[in-house]
Amino acid sequence: MAIALVNTGSIAGAPFGPEPQTSDGDLIVKVGHGDRIAFEELYRRFARPVLGLALRMLGDHGRAEDASQETFAAVWRSAKSYRPERGSGSAWLFAVARHAIIDRARQRVDQVVDEPIEEPSAEAGPAEAAEQAWLAWRVHSALERLPERERVVLELAYWSGLSQSEVASYLDVPLGTVKTRTRAGLARLATHLEEARQ
């Protein structure tokens, strides 16, 4: 079994160490062989990225959940066709998800949708909207690979509107711990974002 090691060794003194983790691509290969455990792990990693992408493109939570289900059904059925040498597992999943979501958008009998709705990019062109969707996908999927303690701190710090002192109070940890976890989480996130870009 191939194991992907998170490359965190490039920063001297960074307050975290490498964490072994099966790569997304290896999980997809396993799913292609009918491995249910790998499928569950893949869902755990990509449930929020897929749902986030579907929400961007469809703008409706119910339909986005339907599209998410269809995406993972497509993953289960088509994982055999994944070829690791052709690109990262995350990029393959992004393509599968986007296709499933576009199909869902086209299934509306009362509204023919030529191009899916991309809510946050109403003023952006198609290329910019696609770039924003890809960035959100990479950020959301990279977050899922962080240790829980770091992911929670980053999500609270960036998306809850809380200051770091308020995050520290909320989590009942010292402010210094919040800063340490923020530093470690950002470093790990940067590494994962770079990997996903390749």
Binding site: F72, R77, Q107, A136, H140, Y158, S160, R183
Partner: protein, 210 residues
């Protein structure tokens, strides 16, 4: 409630070296440019995690082909259209289409497309087996389309082949009314989205009733 400080040093500590700070700044910028991820519901998790235990709609390909052969015997269908009891107890059409090589592809190239029963959302689920197409560069892929006249009309999915020119069980779908289209084709798509001449080509049966 004030949100994250604009000063990254304030977020991560004043003792962080400059080279590390530059790396952290990339992640910081990405987070600031991205909306919060949604939380999936327990219902969705249950629905998705049940997928491996479900028999595929219309059964697996072998089952579909067996049903196809039996039904074809009764109906005398020349093109491989079968009628058999689907997983929900109701009738379901199954169609197997062969996309043959055009003059633009190697003579032995071929795709066998198994069209399974239509789901509740009106979506045709299909799987395909490909032989004889040349492997492509990393930034190219093959794509299956439904055509109208001489034009590519609707995409049904993408695939790649291995070094032997094969792809097995490629999953495709088509939420369209087949009666509106003329042909199934496969083309090569380049990094700029340009498409090749049709490489594989097969007829569309005019059936939307299932």
């Amino acid at each position: 409630m004030s949100g994250p400080s604009d000063d990254l040093r304030e977020l991560v500590g004043a003792d962080v070296p400059q080279d590390e700070l530059e790396l952290l700044a990339d992640a910081d910028a990405a987070l600031r440019a991205t909306p919060a991820p949604p939380e999936e519901s327990e219902t969705l998790a249950k629905r998705v995690l049940a997928i491996p235990g479900q028999r595929s709609r219309g059964g697996d390909r072998r089952r579909a082909l067996a049903g196809l052969a039996i039904a074809a015997g009764f109906a005398g269908a020349a093109f491989g259209i079968g009628l058999w009891a689907g997983g929900n107890g109701g009738p379901a059409f199954v169609e197997e289409v062969t996309l043959a090589a055009t003059a633009s592809a190697p003579e032995a190239a071929e795709m066998t497309l198994s069209v399974r029963e239509r789901d509740d959302a009106g979506n045709w689920n299909m799987s395909g087996d490909v032989r004889g197409l040349p492997p492509l560069p990393d930034d190219h892929y093959y794509e299956v389309w439904l055509t109208k006249g001489d034009e590519l009309a609707e995409s049904c999915g993408r695939f790649a082949v291995d070094e032997d020119g094969r792809a097995d069980n490629v999953w495709l779908n088509a939420p369209y009314r087949f009666s509106e289209f003329d042909r199934w084709v496969a083309v090569e798509v380049g990094p700029d989205g340009t498409t090749s001449d049709w490489l594989l080509d097969g007829p569309v049966a005019q059936r939307d009733a299932a």
